[in-house]
């Protein structure tokens, strides 16, 4: 097993500093570096893999097994054989071919980028399995803090070009010192759905036995059989003000339905009705076109690369010819401001924007014609984890501000759970299930649904050296009445066999405080059948939350007793039938950054632009007063029931340095910026 030592590494390219002052050492285990995806992480990955580009200048030392990286290309090439580099898009296949060369060190450069939620877990688990077999060290470079938390033993957080904080998932979750870490930790919480969604009214869009068949490539005019079905006859309706999501994997037909609704293509049979007007796709009456808008998956494909974005944004306005030029300009500026961008960007070409900015502009374009219905096709596909939440929050706000009806499609239930009131699950063109997001996540009936709602990040594997104590994700829960800093944190660990009551209660404080803080739990009311505020219930059965709350790493909770090694979460040996449910409770409980921690002067972790944060709507939490009482009383009793509470002093986790080589990193200067 090779040992990678990096000391005070700096990378400069074209006079610009990309990485500064990075020190780490890695031999076994998993280290994650979390940084912005602006090319710096990529440059670092190439440098560490011995693939340095000619224009990059390196300072500091870089050694593998004590041998400094050579400079000559042929020596470097020999060196490279020992290091595997897994890039974005390489996927499981790329990993397999890397493993054939039995690398001694695996560098993963944003490997999950662009993968769907289910593929996420597959790849992450494949890496974990490979590591267990071959025992190499893994260095993960990513922008996704949640992945790092779920995956790595040790995490280095970058702010810009510099590492600012180092710790384990647990220590960071407990007491992140640097603002950037806290921002990253909090970025996955859509916390501002305190907006009033529009009231639900009469049916606005109806699918009436809509069927779509496409001829495939091998079609010939002599074929007797009708072309294969892409969407089987499908009927459902979207009411005015409602947000309906279509959940399905690739090829399930969700995009086809969305495009038909938006007036693209033509269905093979059946009809759609928008506000009573029947159409079949592109025969949508011209005067109805402005009432339906659409946001596409890849913003860079949704803007003409040759035109300034401002010109693309005026397209919906050109149709309304009675608008004066001044009025057009006003609407344009207003629209761009409403999605949080400055109007001065309108003169630029699309390639001058990142995916997030461009998707905001796509939303602005969709809103320009003041539509009633907005159709969202995988709107967050090209966004990274933090941007995704930011965009969803924006969507919710925009929906509330404009009283929009939403029809969205995604393969990611977190996305749909955040913006939708109701979700329909599609499998190969058939609607197989439907219901409120919470209900689907909780009791998926179909196998496909179960697959789609399964957690996104891998559980921790107990076969790698585990920190004894603070169970990841379950710890940093502030008692509402605690007057002192949270750590040393008690690790509340459930016995796997019987999910114990206290966890939901542990999740409670943030909910109980909703009066002061915009709630996290907001799968609220606009459903025809109101969803109970699941998170708030101190239910003996740990109830999975609406998934918008999920974020932090799924912790397969290790037993408090270090001697007993918990079986891996997946295998049948585990008498834990409802793994997803338990996992989700763990996620809910793990909401440390949202807590007002008296020890740390936290700025509010609000993603919405300042000033847009509406006061929380009191009716959102339908938690009866006596329930709150109950939960408050229940809290002190948390230690007395089946779950084991192991208070672990914060320092002891750091002193576990001999647990595994990867932990030695704690000695690194980067680790303790305060020292």
């Amino acid at each position: 097993m090779a040992r990678l030592e990096v000391d005070n590494l700096g990378i400069f390219r074209g006079g610009r500093s990309m990485i500064e002052g990075l020190s780490l050492s890695l031999s076994g285990g998993r280290t994650a570096i979390v940084g912005a995806q602006d090319g710096a992480m990529r440059a670092l990955a190439l440098e560490l893999a011995g693939l340095s580009i000619g224009s990059a200048v390196r300072t500091g030392t870089l050694t593998l097994d004590g041998v400094s990286y050579p400079t000559g290309e042929s020596e470097l090439a020999r060196f490279r054989g020992r290091i595997g580099l897994l890039g974005a898009g390489d996927g499981v296949a790329g990993l397999a071919s890397l493993l054939e060369r039995t690398p001694q060190l695996l560098i993963c450069d944003d490997p999950l980028h662009g993968l769907a939620g289910t593929a996420h877990r597959e790849l992450a688990e494949a890496i974990l399995d490979a590591q267990r077999e071959q025992g190499f060290g893994v260095l993960l470079l990513t922008g996704d803090m949640r992945l790092a938390m779920a995956f790595a033993d040790s995490i280095i957080v970058f702010d810009g070009t510099r590492p600012v904080e180092t710790g384990t998932a647990e220590t960071l979750a407990e007491r992140a010192r640097h603002a950037r870490t806290r921002e990253l930790l909090g970025a996955y919480q859509p916390r501002t759905r305190a907006t009033m969604p529009p009231p639900i009214g009469e049916p606005l869009l109806e699918f009436d036995a809509v069927e779509q068949r496409f001829r495939d490539r091998g079609w010939s005019p002599f074929d007797r059989l009708p072309p294969p079905v892409v969407v089987a006859p499908t009927s459902f309706l979207v009411r005015r003000g409602e947000a309906v999501g279509l959940l399905g994997g690739a090829g399930s037909g969700k995009s086809v339905l969305l495009r038909l609704a938006a007036g693209l293509g033509r269905c093979s049979a059946g009809e759609l009705r928008f506000d009573g007007d029947a159409y079949h796709g592109d025969d949508l009456p011209a005067e109805r076109r402005s009432a339906i808008a659409m946001v596409f998956p890849d913003p860079h494909l949704a803007f003409n690369p040759a035109l300034a974005v401002g010109l693309s944004l005026t397209e919906p306005l050109r149709v309304e010819q009675q608008l004066l030029v001044d009025e057009q300009a006003d609407r344009l500026v207003e629209g761009v401001r409403s999605v949080g961008l400055d109007p001065s960007v309108l003169g630029r070409r699309p390639d001058a924007f990142g995916a997030m900015e461009l998707q905001r502009l796509a939303l602005a374009r969709a809103l320009a014609s003041r539509p009633q219905l907005i159709v969202l096709d995988e709107p967050t596909l090209r966004l990274d984890a933090a941007e995704r939440v930011e965009f969803l929050v924006l969507l919710n706000r925009v929906r509330a501000d404009n009283g929009l009806t939403v029809l969205a499609a995604s393969r990611d239930i977190e996305v749909l759970g955040t913006i939708c009131d109701r979700i329909l699950v599609l499998e190969q063109g058939h609607i197989i299930e439907g219901g409120a997001p919470a209900q689907l996540a909780e009791t998926p009936e179909q196998a496909e649904t179960r697959r789609l709602v399964a957690p996104r990040y891998p559980g921790r594997r107990p076969d790698v050296p585990q920190p004894v104590a603070p169970a990841p994700g379950l710890v940093a829960v502030a008692r509402p009445d605690a007057g002192e800093p949270v750590p040393p944190a008690p690790a509340t660990v459930p016995t796997p066999a019987e999910p114990s009551p206290p966890e939901p209660e542990a999740a409670l404080p943030p909910v109980a405080e909703t009066a002061a803080d915009p709630p996290v739990v907001l799968l609220e009311a606009p459903l025809p059948v109101p969803v109970p505020a699941a998170a708030a219930m101190p239910d003996p059965d740990p109830e999975p939350l609406p998934l918008e709350v999920t974020p932090l790493p799924v912790a397969a909770p290790p037993p408090a007793d270090a001697a007993t090694v918990a079986p891996p979460p997946g295998p049948p040996a585990e008498p834990q039938p409802e793994l997803p449910a338990t996992a989700m409770v763990a996620e809910v409980a793990a909401d440390p950054p949202s807590l007002p921690d008296p020890a740390i002067p936290t700025e509010p972790l609000v993603i919405a632009p300042p000033g847009r944060l509406l006061p929380p709507a009191p009716q959102l939490i339908s938690l009866p007063a006596h329930k709150i009482e109950t939960t408050r009383q229940a809290l002190p009793a948390a230690g007395h029931n089946d779950s084991v509470t192991v208070p672990v002093p914060a320092e002891s986790a750091g002193d576990d340095a001999d647990k595994g080589p990867e932990r030695r990193q704690g000695d690194n200067p980067v680790d303790r910026p305060d020292d």
Partner: protein
Amino acid sequence: MIARPDLPGIRWGLVAGGGVGLLLAVLALTSLVWVPFPLAGPPLTPLAEPGGLHLLGTDQAGRDVVSLLMTAALSSLAVAGFGTLIALLVGVPAGALMAARFGAGPSPGRVSGLLLAPALIVAMLLTALGSAGPGTAILSVALPGAVAAGLAARAPVAMLLRRDYVAAARIAGLNALSAMQRHVLPALLPVVAALGLELFAVAILVEASLGFLGLAAGMSGTGLGVMLRDTQGFMQIRPLLAIAPGVTIVSLILALQLVARGLRRGIDGTA
């Protein structure tokens, strides 16, 4: 557009092809107003040696070869050019229509392979019907050319039409035609330009073949292919008489293809 490494060969080819093509075109156009020895004038000494006043000598009918070449080149270029123009005007919209209605369709391969044999058949048909003027030559180039252009334009139009920004424009309320005009046409222009140049090059070859076979004479009764055919019998004594139109044909085609290749490289990186 993604920056790609600049290939010196391609760029050099673009410059050289453009230069040679322009020079030949200018010479050909000059023949409209001036040639060294007007062809209509009294016949000169037949089969004069090259050099002196007659740079390339005179042919068997006592015509100055340079003057004849200039006139013949213009005739060939005109026939090929009109044929290509008609082919593009008919073929590209038809291809776009096909793309809009039926999608990308099969890949057409290279246009040149599609052109020569059908052109000969069309020319033979028209000649059998009793027509032998420049119209025959132009039509023989234009008809198969239109098919080739349509096939070649269909795929890029289909690709552009599938772009989400075209869908966005349609959703924004633009009708199919204005969406196409706004988003597809500008991106298609360089593609059509390259396609036109390729077709033009093949059309010159086709025109020369037709002339050589005596199936269609160009304007003013001559053409590079006609010249090749007429001088065949004198290859033994005056090889230059056949070589001169041959070299002219080859350099015209090469020049056009080099420019087309340079354009293609600029558009999509294929060449």
